[in-house]
């Protein structure tokens, strides 16, 4: 699978390791900067109105008030308010949203094409995305309209005239709506999983005719033996499996669309029938041990990267075949405990041919294992590159000694893995002027197969996190904006959160075609992104305006949560376990936004007049 931003282990991420400065420090710095700027700005504004002494007093009182509120928050009151929010949400027919979800699932068949190369991925990402959009939308509407509605109906009067602290009102709302959405999310999750499993379930027909040898075509090609078509695909049954079926009554089909079936032959009254089992291997949650990748260039010297074969996307780095160039992964934590039956190596590499070569022959490569301490090497095998598929290679506990077939076997953990559980895996391409494209996540050791539904649930945690953040933003904005405006502001925060990367590229002027105003001119003049703008007054003004807007854009892009990063659909859809580290990182990130947003909400609500 493609992982463009790999995270280090949790504590390294949090507290710094290597070039990574540590998320906590960045967070503290950002909060500090915002605090300083916010205080300065309010001080200036208030000084202009009331003079410096009063201004300082007001700011101090506001902050002290918030602090005091936070300290005196009563769980019972928060609970009461949260419960009220839940009741309100139910009153305001969140069920409609839920029905919508059921409807989407019912009619998902319209939108989804089961004939795709990887239906499991398609279905999983569909349900997760559908749930996520629906829940986010719900969170958005619930949170943005609630407080304004209370203010509008003046029901808030009876609340704030009780010993309720503004912070409790904000917190209660946030928690209440989050709870509602959580409940919905759980139900949707269960339904979604059932939907995916149910929809993917199918079997194929298989008759004796299907298994009978086929007549070759004019050109001598023998068509393969295949099962009947279901869900727009069929599986090949290879001749060795047909033989096995005849001998043992058991066989398996080839993998198609990411799954295979077991075949059982049942002979009754002299007639043999073939039955196919349910699809196997479709939903996965591979738990990988990932390594760090380094390269060797064609001269055999260590290099940071391979070469670029001219792709716009720099994800894969290429090594040249027939030269010493190689990609070397170093894995740690390779222990007998984790791999009692040998190490399973999985890889997904890209191939780039500088000439066509032999069209029907894949490009050959080699896998070499090395002990990083003793530098003892062992050629595991030469392989044929398979693209866009997970290619599995087993490293047994005892390896044949290729140099001396009669000699003693090589002990994997004794000789190839270092004493502290480190192992190097080297991938090389063996054909001259052909290339392999590698990236750090391309090769990993498969520690075990996790439970798919657990992973699915973990994927939902990410949605949950997004939902909580949207709720917090919604409540925060609604503390001082009216309903529709709060909705827009929240929607803005949300959309901004999904496009943080784009906002950053705008803010840092890395976006092709310039900023907002320049783009506007380009659209008007129908100029493409790279064309030079005419040097005139209008374009100068536009470029100037873009320069000015970059500053607020920079702040916004630094302040908004990157909602897309918080999404782990891809892991679930591609069948990889969401690691505890990743989950912890996401949760911490979420908390890092949740608390400041909540505090802002407290402050705003405290500073506003409840009545009009």
């Amino acid at each position: 699978m493609i992982i463009e931003n790999e995270y280090p282990p949790y504590f390294e991420w949090l507290l710094a390791a290597g070039i990574n400065p540590g998320a906590l420090w960045i967070w503290l710095l950002t909060v500090f900067c915002l605090l300083v700027v916010g205080l300065l700005a309010s001080f200036i504004v208030l000084t202009a109105r009331h003079g410096p002494a009063k201004a300082g007093d007001l700011i101090f009182k506001a902050l002290a008030g918030v602090a005091n509120d936070v300290v005196h928050t009563s769980p019972r009151r928060v609970y009461a308010l949260a419960r009220l929010a839940v009741q309100e949400a139910i009153r305001r027919r969140v069920l409609v949203g839920f029905m919508l979800f059921i409807l989407i699932l019912l009619f998902a068949g319209w939108f989804l094409d089961p004939g795709r190369t990887d239906p499991a991925k398609l279905y999983l990402s569909f349900v997760i995305n559908a749930t996520s959009y629906l829940v986010l939308f719900l969170a958005l509407v619930l949170s943005a309209f609630s407080l304004p509605a209370d203010l509008q109906n003046k029901t808030i009067y009876t609340i704030v005239t009780k010993p309720v602290r503004p912070a409790e009102v904000v917190l209660g709302r946030t928690l209440g709506f989050a709870a509602v959405c959580t409940g919905l999310l759980v139900v949707m999750g269960v339904l979604s999983y059932a939907f995916v499993v149910r929809t993917l379930d199918h079997t194929h027909s298989l008759t004796a005719d299907d298994l009978a040898p086929k007549a070759p075509t004019e050109n001598g090609t023998v068509p393969p033996n295949r099962t009947g078509t279901t869900a727009r695909h069929r599986h090949e049954v290879k001749s060795d499996q047909i033989k096995r079926l005849a001998e043992e009554g058991q066989a398996v089909t080839e993998t198609e669309q990411g799954h295979y079936h077991e075949i059982t032959a049942v002979t009754r009254d002299g007639v043999t029938e073939y039955r196919l089992g349910p699809p196997l291997g479709q939903l996965k949650a591979r738990v990988p041990v990932r390594g760090t990748l380094s390269f060797r260039d064609r001269g055999g010297k260590p290099a940071e990267k391979g070469i670029n074969v001219g792709n716009e996307w720099m994800y894969h780095s290429y090594i040249e075949g027939g030269t010493p160039a190689a990609g070397i992964w170093r894995f740690s934590g390779v222990t007998r405990d984790h791999f009692p039956n040998g190490v399973v190596l999985e890889m997904a590499i890209r191939v780039f041919r500088s000439f066509k070569g032999v069209v029907d022959q894949p490009i050959l490569g080699s896998i070499t294992l090395r002990n990083p301490d003793t530098r003892v090497e062992h050629l595991l095998e030469n392989f044929q590159a398979k693209e866009y598929a997970v290619d599995q290679h087993l490293v047994p506990l005892e390896l044949d000694n290729l140099e001396d077939p009669q000699g003693p076997k090589i002990d994997l953990f004794g000789e190839l893995v270092s004493s502290d559980g480190e192992l190097e895996v080297e991938i090389r391409c063996l054909e001259r002027a052909q290339f392999y494209g590698l990236a750090q996540p391309s090769v990993y050791l498969l520690r075990r197969e996790g439970t798919p539904w657990v992973n699915f649930a973990k994927g939902y945690v990410a949605i949950w996190l997004q939902m909580v953040l949207v709720t917090a933003f919604g409540v925060m904005w609604s503390t001082f904006l009216n309903g529709p405006v709060a909705l827009l502001a929240t929607l803005g925060s949300m959309v901004g959160g999904f496009f943080v990367t784009f906002l950053q590229s705008l803010a840092l002027n890395r976006s092709l075609g310039g900023g907002t105003f320049e783009s506007l001119i380009r659209i008007g003049q129908q100029k493409n992104l790279t064309e030079q703008l005419e040097q005139n007054f209008t374009s100068a003004v536009a470029v100037g305006l873009d320069k000015v807007t970059r500053i607020p854009l920079f702040v916004v892009s630094r302040v908004l949560p990157n909602l897309r990063e918080l999404n782990d659909v891809q892991y679930v859809a591609d069948g990889y376990d969401i690691s505890a580290d990743l989950l912890a990182i996401h949760l911490t990130t979420g908390l890092g936004y949740f608390i400041p947003v909540l505090l802002l909400g407290f402050l705003f609500f405290k500073l506003r007049e409840v009545a009009k």
Binding site: R76, A80, L81, E88, R91, T155, T158, V160, T161, K162
Partner: protein, 312 residues
């Protein structure tokens, strides 16, 4: 039957006098200016109000619509922030939420959550006072009984009539057994019987030693129950004082009687004439508070800026 003064107060059992001198509510130079979105001054809703409400009295804020009485209440409750001046409740600033522990507030209309039923409503507000469950249950039951809603306690508030809503609103205001009860237009929308009951209840509360601050534009309410009133007009305090003394200012005597013969009437006339008075009317009388009120309004419009003669 003849009365020397026109106040139709049936003196309640118990003292009409304030029971103490300690001050529950105090406003000092309290002003409120409403501003529009751009910060421009829109309305001067309240101009330098100085008030004191003492423990155990029923204090009425009286004024026509837009006179600033609701603004005063909102300022006292911390729903609005004063533009200048100070509002103190129990000696604490109005923005301090802890004061709310001892306050019960019945807003102008009962702004309650219509999807809750009476029990849930009271339970919810009880929680907001951080009451333990058993206390909550007890208070809820007591109050529902007090406002006579036992028969409808499981019904959602959206099914309640206006009077019932008012009553449950009052119940929620009393959930914490408050020392100070703030009532905003307590009798609006109530039928005559409801009105009477509400007034009785207010008096009963005063008798239990509560302090009541109410505002109303209905003179009868104020006249019936208040010990002291303040009359506001256009954000300014026009009159402040005990209801009886305020109304005593007018040297008008109204005579109401029944079963008099023409001769008797003549006789009364002659008595008046003897005391060098004039018979004004012997018809249905108008409320004198209303007259006072109207004269203040006229006076205020003729000479804006005249402040109240504060009588203690």
């Amino acid at each position: 039957m003849m009365q020397s003064q026109a106040v139709a107060l049936e003196a309640p059992p118990g003292a009409a006098q304030p029971t103490g001198t300690d001050v529950i509510i105090e406003t000092r130079n309290l002003s409120k200016i409403y501003r529009d979105f751009w910060g421009r001054q829109k309305v001067r809703a309240l101009k330098a109000l100085d008030l004191e409400v003492r423990r155990g009295e029923i204090f009425g804020l009286l004024g026509p619509n837009g006179s600033g009485k609701t603004t005063t209440i909102k300022l006292l409750l911390g729903l609005l922030f004063p533009t200048s001046g100070q509002a103190l409740v129990f000696g604490k600033d109005a923005s301090d939420v802890t004061k709310n522990e001892r306050i019960g507030y019945l807003p102008e209309e009962s702004y309650l959550y219509r999807f809750l039923n009476a029990e849930e409503t009271l339970d919810f507000y009880g929680r907001l006072f951080d009451m333990p469950p058993e206390v909550r249950r007890q208070r809820t039951a007591d109050l529902i009984h007090l406002v006579k809603l036992d028969w409808a306690k499981r019904r959602q508030l959206k099914e309640y009539s206006k009077g019932m809503t008012r009553r449950i609103g009052l119940a929620q205001a009393l959930i914490n057994d408050p020392e100070l009860i703030v009532l905003d237009e307590p009798t609006t929308g109530l039928d005559p019987i409801g009105c009477r009951e509400m007034k009785d209840l207010i008096l009963e509360l005063r008798d239990r030693g509560k302090t009541v601050l109410m505002c109303s534009h209905l003179l009868a309410d104020v006249q019936d129950v208040c010990d002291r009133i303040a009359i506001l007009h256009q954000g300014e305090l026009k009159e402040l004082g005990r209801v009886d003394s305020l109304l005593k200012i007018r040297d008008v005597t109204e005579i109401r009687a029944s079963g008099l013969s023409d001769a008797a009437k003549e006789e009364i006339k002659s008595v008046i004439a003897r005391h060098s008075g004039q018979l004004v009317s012997m018809d249905n009388p108008t409320s004198t508070l209303e007259e006072l009120f109207l004269s203040i309004v006229q006076d205020s419009e003729a000479r804006p800026g005249r402040r109240a003669r504060v009588e203690q």
